[in-house]
Symmetry: C2
Subunit: 336 residues, 2 copies
DNA sequence: CTGTTAGCGCGTTCAC
DNA sequence: GTGAACGCGCTAACAG
C-alpha cells in the first residue's frame, strides 16, 4: 500500500508538499501540484484514514443507536440518516441496543475510544445521569427521543400532538369508549402520545377507563392478542388508539376473524403510516411522521456540534405530525 | 483524554507494561498488573482506537453494501449482520448504493483507505472486473449475490430451487398459464429464480408465454399495475410467480378491487415470507429465506478472511429455501 | 518479567 | 513556496 512518502519520492518532493496538495492548501505551485497528482494516480495512492484520524482527532463516522433494525420506523430512520451522513462525507455505524442497558453503554463507549465523532440516540435505555458523562468525549444528539434534564440537542416529532389529533378524530366521530394501546420502549415518545390522548379526552369531557389500557404492544401478533382480550370484556370499547400500524393491523385482521366489523363495531387508528396501512382491509387511518426531515436536521446539528465542540446545550427542534384518514375509522365507498 | 502514557506515569511503570496488561499478554506480575488496573480505572482510561488501528492495521469494522435499507429483506439482513458483527466485537457500517455504480465504488474505497477490514457485498452494480482490483486491499465476501468469475467466498440462498419449488407448486395445482414477474436489481438472484421457474415448466412440458413476463416489479404499487395490465390481456394467466411479497400483495389487493378471486381466478406466490403475507387476505403463499443463517455464516467467513489474509479463493455456501403454502394458492377453510 | 526504542502514516509548526 | 522534524497513541522487537 502506497504511503504519502512513496508519493513524495516519486514526485521528487517532500511529504509536506504532497500533504498540502491532498488537503487543498494554498501556496503550492501549479507545476508541483500536477507532479504530485500524477504520482498519486500512478501509485493509486489513497490516504490512510487511521493515520488521518489519529492526527486530526476526527473519524468522520457517527454511530446511530436504535433498539433494532427490523421495525419499519427505524428502518426508514436508518435509510434517511445514512443518506444525510453520505451527503456530509460521513459513515454511519448501526448499533442495535436490543433494549439492553449494557449494550447501550458498550456502544456509547465508541465515543470514548474515538471510533466515532458523535452519537445519535434514537432510543434511551439507561438513566440520563449515566449517559451524561459521555458528553465529555463528544457530542450526543437525541433523535425521536427526549429527556427533560438532558442538555443536548433533541430533534423530535410532536408526539403529544400526534396522540391528540388521532384521538380527537375518534372523538369527533362520536366515539366515547376509546381504548389506548402502545409499546413501552418508546419511553418518552409513548408518554407524550398518552398526554395528547388524555388531553383530547379531557376536552370532550370523557374519562379514561383503565381497563381499556394495553401496554407493550409492538407486533402484529400483539395486536391480535389485544383484540382477543377485548372481546372478553363485558363493556367493550368502540374505538382504539394504537402506537403502531402493525398492532393496528393485527387488531383489524383478528377482528374480522371474530366477525367484528371495522370501523362500524370498532374503529382503529394506527401510527407511522407504513405500507401495510394501505394493504389491510379496511385500510388503516394513521399518523404520518416526517422522518426524513427529522433525520436531515439531526445530522445537520450533529455536524455543527462536531465542529463547534460545544456539546452541552439544550436545543429542541420539533416537527408536526399529520393524520391520514382511511377506512379503519371512516367507512368509505368501494373503489373500482 | 487520558493516554497510555498517563496511565504508565500514574502507575510508575512503562508504557509497555501497561500495553501488555491491556492486551492480556503473559509475563506481567500480579502486583504490577493490579497497579496498572487501578491507574486505568482512576483515569477512566480507554485505548484510542485510531492509534490502535494505525498500529495494528485493523479497524474492527466491516462495511455492508446494500441497495437500500427500506426493504424488509435487507432490513433483516442488516439486523442479523449487526448481531453477528457485535458477537465478534466488530462494528457494522451501512452503505446504501441506491443502485448506483459510483456510490458502490465510493464505498469500496473504504477498503483502500483502511476504514474497514472487509466488505460484504449484498448487491453488485459494477462489473466484476472493476470490483476485483479492490481485493488487493482486503477481503470481499458476497452475501446473497453471486458472480461466476469472482474468486471470493459467496454465501447465498439457492434461488434456483426457490423459483423451482414455488413454480412446481403452481403446476401441481394444475396451473399451466403462469405469469412471471420479478425485480431487476437482484441481478443474479433474479436470474437464478428464473432458471428454476423455467426448469419447473419444462418438467411439466409447459412452454412459457412471453406476454406473461413482467420486469422491474418491486413495490406494492408495481403489483397493482401489473394486475391492471393483466386484465387487459385477452388470454389471461391463471397463476403468477412474483419476486417479492410486496408485489404479490399489490396484485392480490388490486385483484379484489376488480372482482378477481384469489386463488380461484388467479393464484399468487410471493417471495421472502414477510409479515404482510399473513396480513393480506387471502394470506400469501411464499418462500422463506434463512437470512439469519446466511448472515451468520457470511460474517464467520469474513472473520476467517480477515485473519488468514487470503482473499482470493472461491468458496460457495448455499442454503435451501422453503415453500410456505398459504391461501393465495390453495383455498383453505375459514378459521374462527 | 520489565523498560527502551522504533515506527505505523499523516499534518503542521517553524525555519529557510 | 518548500522541506525538516516532531508528535498524535499505541504495539512489538530487542535488550536486559
Amino acid at each position: 500500500m502506497a504511503t504519502i512518502e512513496d508519493v513524495a519520492k516519486l514526485a521528487g518532493l517532500s511529504r509536506t508538499t504532497v500533504s498540502r496538495v491532498i488537503n487543498n492548501h494554498p501556496y503550492v505551485s501549479e507545476k508541483k501540484r500536477s507532479l504530485v497528482m500524477n504520482a498519486m494516480s500512478e501509485l493509486g495512492y489513497v490516504p490512510n484514514s487511521s493515520a488521518r484520524s489519529l492526527r486530526s482527532q476526527k473519524t468522520e463516522m457517527v454511530a446511530l443507536l436504535i433498539p433494532r433494525v427490523m421495525n419499519p420506523f427505524f428502518s426508514e430512520l436508518i435509510e434517511r440518516m445514512e443518506m444525510a451522513a453520505a451527503e456530509n462525507g460521513y459513515q454511519l455505524i448501526i448499533c442495535q441496543t436490543k433494549y439492553s442497558k449494557k449494550k447501550e453503554l458498550d456502544y456509547l463507549n465508541l465515543l470514548k475510544t474515538k471510533q466515532v465523532d458523535g452519537i445519535i440516540l434514537s432510543s434511551i435505555q439507561n438513566d440520563w445521569n449515566v449517559i451524561e458523562p459521555f458528553l465529555e468525549f463528544g457530542p450526543i444528539v437525541l433523535c425521536n427521543e427526549f429527556e427533560e434534564d438532558a442538555h443536548v440537542p433533541s430533534v423530535r416529532l410532536d408526539q403529544t400532538y400526534g396522540g391528540y389529533i388521532s384521538t380527537k378524530h375518534l372523538l369527533d366521530l362520536g366515539h366515547r369508549k376509546i381504548a389506548y394501546c402502545t409499546g413501552g420502549y418508546k419511553s418518552n415518545v409513548a408518554k407524550s402520545r398518552e398526554i395528547g390522548f388524555l388531553k383530547a379526552l379531557e376536552e370532550f369531557e370523557v374519562s379514561f377507563q383503565e381497563e381499556f389500557s394495553f401496554r407493550n404492544a409492538f407486533t402484529i401478533e400483539d395486536g391480535r392478542e389485544i383484540l382477543r382480550e377485548i372481546i372478553t370484556l363485558k363493556d367493550r370499547p368502540t374505538a382504539i388508539f394504537t402506537g403502531g400500524d402493525e398492532v393496528a393491523a393485527g387488531i383489524i385482521t383478528e377482528a374480522k376473524r371474530h366477525g367484528i366489523k371495522v370501523p362500524e363495531d370498532l374503529a382503529v387508528v394506527g401510527f407511522d403510516n407504513q405500507a401495510i396501512t394501505e394493504l389491510v382491509e379496511p385500510s388503516i387511518t394513521t399518523v404520518y411522521q416526517p422522518i426524513e426531515e427529522m433525520a436531515r436536521k439531526t445530522f445537520q446539528i450533529m455536524m455543527e456540534k462536531v465542529n463547534s465542540k460545544r456539546y452541552r446545550q439544550k436545543e429542541i427542534v420539533e416537527y408536526d405530525l399529520e393524520l391520514i384518514v382511511r377506512e379503519s375509522t371512516v367507512k368509505q365507498g368501494v373503489l373500482i
